[in-house]
């Protein structure tokens, strides 16, 4: 353990000791120290360069079944003292809840390769050059690429420490980097946007030129898009769009949503809830996963949780609190967005497992359909009922071939019916940050158009 980590452990230890001295029966200190670099290039010039460093403490205390929380970015003794006092004040008026508890130590933690020194090792100049080369690759892909909205390079690293009064003392160091490009292509009066991104744990795995070309390709192929007539046809969701639909399921698969009556999966364990071709997994220890870490936001070892296996609902995600309520073990999904919040049930690396079929084969079997590459209004879907109605755009499939761009079409229905109709899963699982999906093919549905 380096000196920085041991300094954080001792700050956390002191905070926990202070909280128990002040009357907490159990206490937990979470400290995160983060660094971030963001470079935005436009027209070959650096438009914005942002460097960040911050750290803070989140303190959770339990007294008589009541949990209090407070946070501070001031890790000096005075700041910690105020935070411990305030956390205890905050638990006074909280409703008593017998399931409030902190995890015990003794977990076995996986050793994960989540800190690449190459990210910090690369110079700022190299990173600027990377964003420039991505922009250049996009521009030179096609002369119709008109506006580069932004060409971004980003990296970040975090040192996370958790100490609790049950004797838990943990820390890890993680880092990630990524590129993002958004652009607009134009021809005549028509303008279409495209973007691409790539986040990874290894600096030398970044492929800026590929990302630049991908963004350009997405915009260019949509030039001249027009609506077609309403039809009953197959839809093929590219990995990005399929990942968006997968995202709709995330809240419903949490133990919290089930317990609060907000999940469309409540009471359906063991039921067939999707096509037998679909398997959905959350894996907080996934090798190479952007959201991978040895433990979650309260120190529970992360794990691989099969949520839907061959279409059958197998389980839900839990943090320590919701697991206690259901009498099960936490799945290591107590996720913290920052030191400013408590660990809530959330996803880590969440994905549909890859299938076996090449995308070309999935397409070639379709007589009439739409290859969907963009969706509008996904956030208006109702996560409780699963009802959705979204605008879609993409490419027309005719006799197994992608023929021309279409936009202004709409599909709707219920997410469960939609997923039950998946009849093909590609072998091209792709991640967008922590979420991912292969290409999915959905058997005939109504696609509204002109």
């Amino acid at each position: 353990m380096n000196t920085e980590a041991s300094a954080m452990i001792s700050t956390a230890r002191a905070a926990v000791a202070q909280a128990t001295n002040k009357g907490a029966q159990v206490a937990e200190a979470y400290i995160c120290k983060a660094k971030e670099l963001n470079i935005e290039v436009r027209g070959g010039l650096v438009e914005t360069m942002k460097l960040a460093e911050d750290s803070g403490l989140g303190l959770r205390v339990i007294r008589d079944g009541k949990t209090g929380f407070s946070f501070t970015s001031d890790l000096n003794p005075a700041g910690v003292d105020e935070a411990t006092g305030q956390a205890l004040v905050n638990c006074r008026k909280i409703s008593e809840d017998p399931y409030q508890r902190l995890p015990k130590p003794g977990n076995a933690y996986e050793k994960l390769d989540i800190y690449d020194p190459g990210i910090r090792g690369a110079t700022v100049e190299q990173k600027i050059e990377l964003a420039r080369s991505m922009e250049e690759a996009a521009r030179s892909y096609d002369r119709r690429v008109k506006v580069i909205e932004s060409s971004n390079y980003q990296d970040g690293e975090a040192l996370v420490t958790i100490v609790n009064s049950h004797g838990m003392e943990l820390s890890y160091h993680g880092a990630l980097c990524g590129v993002y490009l958004a652009l607009a292509a134009g021809e005549g009066d028509d303008s279409q946007t495209g973007f691409a991104l790539d986040y990874t744990l290894k600096y030398d795995r970044l492929k800026p030129a590929e990302v630049g070309r991908e963004a350009a390709r997405r915009a260019i192929r949509m030039l001249g898009a027009a609506p077609v007539t309403t039809r009953h046809a197959a839809v093929v969701l590219d990995p990005y769009v399929a990942t968006g639909f997968l995202g709709l399921l995330a809240p419903a698969l949490t133990g919290e949503a089930v317990q609060k009556g907000r999940s469309l999966f409540a009471g359906k364990l063991g039921d067939q809830v999707a096509s037998s071709k679909l398997t959905a997994i959350d894996d907080g220890a996934l090798p190479g996963g952007i959201a991978s870490a040895p433990f979650d936001g309260e120190g529970v070892a992360t794990s691989r949780t099969v949520l839907i296996e061959k279409g059958v609902l197998k389980g839900y995600l839990y943090n320590t609190y919701t697991a206690a309520k259901d009498g099960v073990q936490s799945t290591g999904n107590g996720v913290r967005n920052s030191f400013k919040g408590t660990p809530e049930v959330g996803i880590t690396n969440f994905f549909f497992e890859a299938g076996t079929e090449p995308v070309e084969k999935l397409l070639s079997e379709i007589k009439s359909g739409i290859y969907v590459t963009e969706v509008m209004g996904m956030h208006t879907a109702n996560p409780i009922s699963g009802d959705f109605s979204v605008g879609v755009a993409g490419l027309l499939i005719e006799n197994g071939e992608l023929t021309r761009p279409v936009r202004g079409m709409a599909i709707g229905g219920n997410i469960l019916d939609f997923l039950a109709n998946v009849d093909g899963v590609g072998n091209d699982l792709k991640f967008f940050g922590g979420r991912g999906s292969p290409t999915l093919r959905v058997a005939e549905i109504t696609i509204s158009g002109q």
């Binding site: 914005t48 460097l51 460093e53 911050d54 970015s73 909280i94 919040g341 208006t380």
Partner: protein, 475 residues
């Protein structure tokens, strides 16, 4: 005020940041204390408080911005950050003014009951009052009530290379209630929020129980509503609906950064008629204690009222320092940021369509038939084109000039700039809503308002996609 860092050190830090060049440099120091209380299923689930302290330093050279932040406010910590941003500038040290003279505001606000002086018990009592009032509206059919209370005490110090020095304090308090009513297979939601630039005195003018009641009534009332009709029809948007539409579909297009990037329909339209003659759009952060009010913006520029559209003619944009310099003008006090972790960008505060002279009741009477919108829900807006879709959270059919039966599941589809051109009547009332406006990944508190307006016609979609989540997504 908490003395974050002394003036002499600020001078040294700015001096260090500007050592290798840069046209402008500033430092933003922030001390923020927050309280959040959440009640769900009749239980106080969360009481969370916190302190976040930090500083952001910015150097602008030409069109490039270098920004760095830290929450290490020690002398060494600040000088280290200044050193980092200084590397991004080139061309050698320029002539800068580091006098740091205190800037005077054009408006002042006083806080009567500071959140730190109010016990947690009293804050919890406010939440419980709203929760109980909501449940009491219809104990059988109200299935869920969620109430959230929040207060923020933000103290900032801003100093820059033009010699300005500003200390400011913003205290904001809010209360939000959400209710879900169920009857058979029908489920409807209701939402109400109040908030202002003030301390706990907010609850002298805004009774917590009324907030809960309003959310609950809305959810229960909508259970009995009939499905909305579809098609083109005249639409009256009541003042009570607030200015969500003007904020989202027009306001963003009047922010100078979007205008300069060519991402706004209002680019190059200054001096031109862009709305009906009856329409004036005003952005006024000086309003007394509204949720989006402020004394100084986050670049230390005194806030002021800016008329964006006057009698239908586009008169001005919202500027921060960077966009103002590009247009060879002065900032008009709209450079805002979420926290020390963000660089400022042009933002709204309190945006509104200015009230006219027509009695709101007369507007409904003269509309004869159409849709009356009493409350807006969530939606989606393309800020580049102004195209929008909004859910109508509470709507009524207008028949024979009277507000008739309630309708549910209506959506409004249109184009913001186009709508302003077909406004036919403007009421003498004014209704506000509050919210957190997101842009470039930064959320800032805002309010928006409008009088009752009659719009010649909008496309009303009558197919409900389920309860609105109240969120607005911009693309």
């Amino acid at each position: 005020m908490i003395d974050l860092v002394d003036k002499q050190l600020l001078k040294e830090v700015l001096d260090q940041a500007l050592q290798s060049g840069g046209d402008f440099g500033d430092i933003f120091l922030e001390h923020k204390k927050t309280t959040a209380i959440r009640c769900e299923a009749g239980k106080i689930e969360k009481i969370q408080t916190g302190v976040d302290v930090g500083a952001g330093i910015r150097i602008i050279s030409g069109e490039a911005t270098a920004y760095a932040y830290t929450n290490d406010l020690s002398r060494a910590g600040l000088l280290n950050v200044a050193g980092i941003v200084s590397h991004a500038a080139a061309g050698g040290r320029k002539n800068v003014n580091l006098d740091l003279t205190e800037v005077q505001p054009l408006v002042d606000f006083t806080f009567k009951e500071r959140p730190e002086d109010v016990s947690t018990d009293r804050k919890v009592a406010v939440v419980e009052a709203a929760d109980q009032a909501a449940r009491a509206v219809d104990p059988a059919r109200i299935k869920q009530v969620i109430v959230g209370y929040g207060d923020v005490v933000q103290q900032v110090t801003i100093a820059n290379s033009e010699g300005d020095y500003v200390e400011d304090e913003r205290i904001r308090t809010r209360l939000v209630a959400q209710a879900i009513a169920v009857s058979g297979a029908a489920m409807q939601t209701g939402y109400e929020a109040v908030g202002s630039l003030s301390g706990f005195e907010l609850f002298i003018s805004e009774q917590p129980s009324l907030v809960g009641e309003a959310a609950a009534r809305q959810s229960v009332n909508m259970l009995e509503a009939q499905p909305a009709p579809a098609g083109r029809m005249p639409v009256v948007i009541a003042g009570a609906a607030g200015g969500t539409m003007v904020h989202e579909a027009c306001g963003h297009g009047l922010e100078a950064d979007l205008v300069q990037k060519g991402l706004s329909v209002y680019a190059g339209k200054k001096g031109q008629a862009v709305a009906a003659k009856e329409v004036s759009v005003v952005e006024d952060p000086t309003l007394n204690v509204r949720y989006g009010s402020y004394r100084f913006d986050d670049e230390g520029v005194p806030s002021r009222k800016v008329t964006l559209i006057e009698d239908g003619v586009l008169t001005n944009y919202m500027y921060d320092r960077l966009t103002a310099a590009k247009d060879a003008t002065q900032s008009n006090g709209h450079g805002r940021r979420e926290s020390y972790q963000h660089k400022p960008v042009p933002r709204m505060g309190n945006t509104m369509i200015a009230p006219g002279k027509t009695d709101p009741a007369k507007i409904i009477r003269e509309t004869r038939t159409g849709l009356l919108v009493k409350k807006m829900g969530g939606g989606q807006v393309n800020t580049t084109t102004g195209d929008f879709v909004f859910d109508v959270a509470e709507g009524y059919l207008i028949k024979d000039g009277e507000a008739g039966p309630r309708v549910r599941g209506a959506t409004l589809t249109g184009n913001g700039p186009e709508v302003l051109r077909i406004v036919e009547m403007v009421g003498s009332d004014l209704g506000f809503t509050i919210g957190t406006c997101g842009k470039d990944g930064q959320g800032v508190p805002v309010s928006d308002a409008q009088p009752t307006i009659a719009i010649k016609e909008l496309i009303v979609g009558g197919t409900a996609t389920g309860p609105s989540n109240g969120k607005i997504r911009r693309i």
